[in-house]
């Protein structure tokens, strides 16, 4: 397995995911602008130093009736005029695909400093319309057309598949929700930081916690979020010079130690049919994790200090637990009951609050996960810091487990 030139993560910034940019009367370029200029300020990078820009975005054509999203990077600062830019789309994994593309350019030696920006403005439409737009991340015609809130239903079926193969108790899903909300209270950029949640509420079906589809209640869902995140990725050459001028060692800068990227068949039924004899419900997601571990040269999850995972629904985090190897396949509940995934546990999952607690601006989520891994490794995560974090992994998923991207980040 090829292990190319190292990619250094210099840092970045994100917008406050609680903001509603439609209420602020703003175009998504304003959001990108705040994230990128905020990231430049945080990393003390001059705009003139950026050589290439990659934008992750899922569906600006639908939410904002605007394509050509990569070109909006140029609008951020006069110094960006003329930069090579591109936009990447892989549903909820768009941000990770932008990271992979930027990494590939740096590995190839084309550029030394890339800005990766994720952006999604979702509060431009009502929830039913938004749910329909999200359906385009599935095979729309077959799985989403004419269905209200198709995605909760698809991820409800992921829970059903676990139930069928291994048994699944909803109380474990409720606990996953409560942990994410609780972590989000420590994150000053989390959308739900001031919201109420308790395990009792997450367990109850009630007028405030209705069923959205199958076994998925409101408390099992990630949020509809406006947000943008920028991170700066650098070659060793740029990183060494940047370290020097900031008075730190090159070895102090987190790197992408390994990555994994697999794509499964689009339809959920096809995924399940394919994996029927496999211990893992989503074997391609498992393969992406194993690839990333191998490339990072780590034996397994024991070597991670924590994980930022794609909890678009509680069932997807439940899946991530055994797929990462925290338990045997089908036994994720043991890690849930044992407190493994909580802050202070053996392998905290989503100290940021994840997609459920921190929010899920679709095309920005992968970039947000990478920024949060960077915060953990550089001990700058504030109140959601995992003590002595050495290596973190992130899993970012597009569709119903279709595109899986994994990164291991550490020094």
């Amino acid at each position: 397995m090829a292990n190319p030139a190292p990619i250094y993560i210099l840092g970045g910034a994100q917008t406050d995911f609680a903001r509603n940019w439609s209420k602020e009367g703003k175009h998504f370029v304003a959001m990108m602008r705040e994230a990128v200029l905020g990231g430049l300020a945080a990393t003390k990078i001059d705009p003139k130093e950026v050589e290439t820009a990659h934008v992750g975005n899922f569906a600006a054509e639908l939410y904002a009736k605007q394509g050509h999203v990569g070109a909006f990077f140029v609008e951020i600062d006069p110094a960006f005029s003329g930069l090579p830019t591109s936009r990447h789309e892989a549903a909820c994994a768009s941000g990770s695909i932008a990271i992979i593309a930027a990494s590939a350019e740096i590995e190839a030696g084309r550029y030394d400093l890339a800005c990766v920006t994720g952006v999604e403005q979702m509060k431009t439409v009502d929830s039913t319309t938004g749910g329909d737009y999200l359906g385009t991340a599935a095979w729309y015609e077959r799985e989403a057309k004419g269905i209200e809130f198709p995605f909760p239903k698809l991820f409800g079926r992921l829970g059903d598949e676990y139930d069928k193969r291994y048994g699944l108790k909803d109380e474990h899903l409720a606990h996953i929700s409560a942990v994410n909300y609780s972590n989000a209270k420590r994150n000053p950029n989390a959308q739900t930081r001031n919201w109420f949640m308790s395990e009792a509420h997450a367990q109850q079906q009630s007028k405030f916690n209705t069923v959205i589809g199958g076994r998925i209640k409101i408390s099992d869902c990630s949020q509809v979020t406006d947000g943008s995140v920028a991170v700066f990725l650098a070659s060793e050459k740029f990183a060494a010079a940047w370290a020097k001028r900031n008075g730190i060692q090159l070895s102090d800068i987190p790197r992408i130690l390994g990555w994994g990227h697999h794509t499964a068949p689009l339809e959920f039924d096809a995924k399940v049919a394919e994996s029927k004899d496999n211990a893992y419900v989503l074997p391609h997601t498992r393969a992406a994790i194993i690839d990333a571990f191998k490339r990072a040269g780590i034996a397994g999850v024991e070597q991670l200090s924590g994980i930022e995972t794609h909890d678009c629904f509680t069932t997807s985090e439940y899946m991530a637990i055994d797929h990462f190897g925290l338990t045997q396949p089908g036994e994720s509940w043991k890690a849930v009951e044992g407190g493994v995934i909580e802050l202070g546990g053996k392998c905290p999952i989503n100290p940021s609050g994840g997609l459920i607690g921190a929010g899920h601006p679709v095309g920005a989520t992968g970039v947000r996960q990478m920024l949060d891994c960077h915060r953990q490794i550089t001990a700058t995560a504030g109140e959601y810091q995992v003590e002595d974090a050495k290596k973190f992994a992130m899993l970012n998923i597009g569709g119903s487990g279709t595109t899986s991207c994994v990164f291991v980040i550490g020094k």
Binding site: A13, Q14, T15, D16, R19, K23, E24, G25, K26, H27, V29, A30, M31, M32, R33, E34, A35, L37, G38, A41, E75, K185, R193, N194, W195, F196, M197, S198, A200, H201, Q204, S206, K207, F208, N209, E383
Partner: protein
Amino acid sequence: MKVAILGANGTMGAGAAGVFAGAGFEVTMLARERDKAEAGMKAAQNAARAEAVADRIKLGSYDDLERAVREAGFVFESLAEDLALKRHFFEQVDRFRTPSAIIATGSSGLSIAEMSKGRSDSFRKHFLGVHLFNPPHVIVGTEVIPGAETDAAMLKSVIAMLTHRLGRKVIVTKDRPAFVGNRVGFKVLNEVAQLAAEHGVAYMDYLVGPQTGRAMAPLATVDLVGWDVHKAIVDNVHQNCEDEAHRCFALPEFMEKGIGEGRLGDKTPERGGFYRKAGKETLVLDPKTGSHAPLKRPAPIEFVEKMKSLNHVGRYREAMAVLREARGADADLCQRVVLGYVSYALNRVGEVAASAADVDSIMSNGFNWAPPTAIVDLIGARETIALLNNLKLAVPPVLEHAARDGAKMFSGGLLEYGRAFVG
């Protein structure tokens, strides 16, 4: 720790109960009748969007005051803004509380010293103001007001609790009328209301609308707050403070008259306030006649439209430059309000706020307005002083220092103030 809430049927009492219960405290909500406390609890459930927030809530009437106060580690008073009423209840709390129980008043501006007058030494040591903003489950800005005798260690522990368990953004203020947030905020709101008498409601809300650094237009804000609450705040400051903006706190005649007729804003939908809904139509008040007529959008003003379109794409500095350079009667009026805000807010440093950062914090987190120092940074400190001089407004010493040192005033960046400038 158990928390007892007095006046738990009111908006702020119910809101505080939800915030404390949501953070895991056991809360007893007390009101005149148990039913009223229950209505408060339902409001807290609606705000939290969860029945389960009440899992930690008990209800009672003032017959249960003794038991609730004896058990409480923290008593939060959220009664009507009536000094005699508050004193009456504090006298009882003084009698029943355990020696370590903390007593906080949620008053939005009454004197801490006056409220604790006549109480025991222990009460006065454990007494302080905790001013939450409405609605507290959304607005996290909070003012903490120690009295002269408030115990310093207890004060510290309350601030830590508010910050870390309740997610509040806390500033400490002096015990002056309306504290910092309402003093500064209602100076602007009342000034705009005064100007509306001459220039019209829709025009003023358009001219100094959200594009000038606020989530909501000023007069719509007064309707939301309630004209009665507005009057209580500005009267209190007008009667008890002599400062450079004294005249800005005089309640306009038409509002005094409206309040007399039961026009209190959004809470009296049939009488309305500056605005009134008639079916789907929005009506607007003519302050001269006291009647409402269908809202007509004011004629677009070039510099206002420019500011909005710049904010729309995140160009806040350029938008403020447009305001700085704008000329003419409209521009003068807009600058007078916006720069008047900066001047008055930063002039409170030392008098009632400890620092410009504290003023920024409460205006941003309590009012959803642009931090005054962020406006200074966007306009430029020297340019701000020039504008203030033109407008014959006071130049605050902290601003003079910043201009002299060439230093940036706002502690955060774009990501912290951007949300205040609406497109």
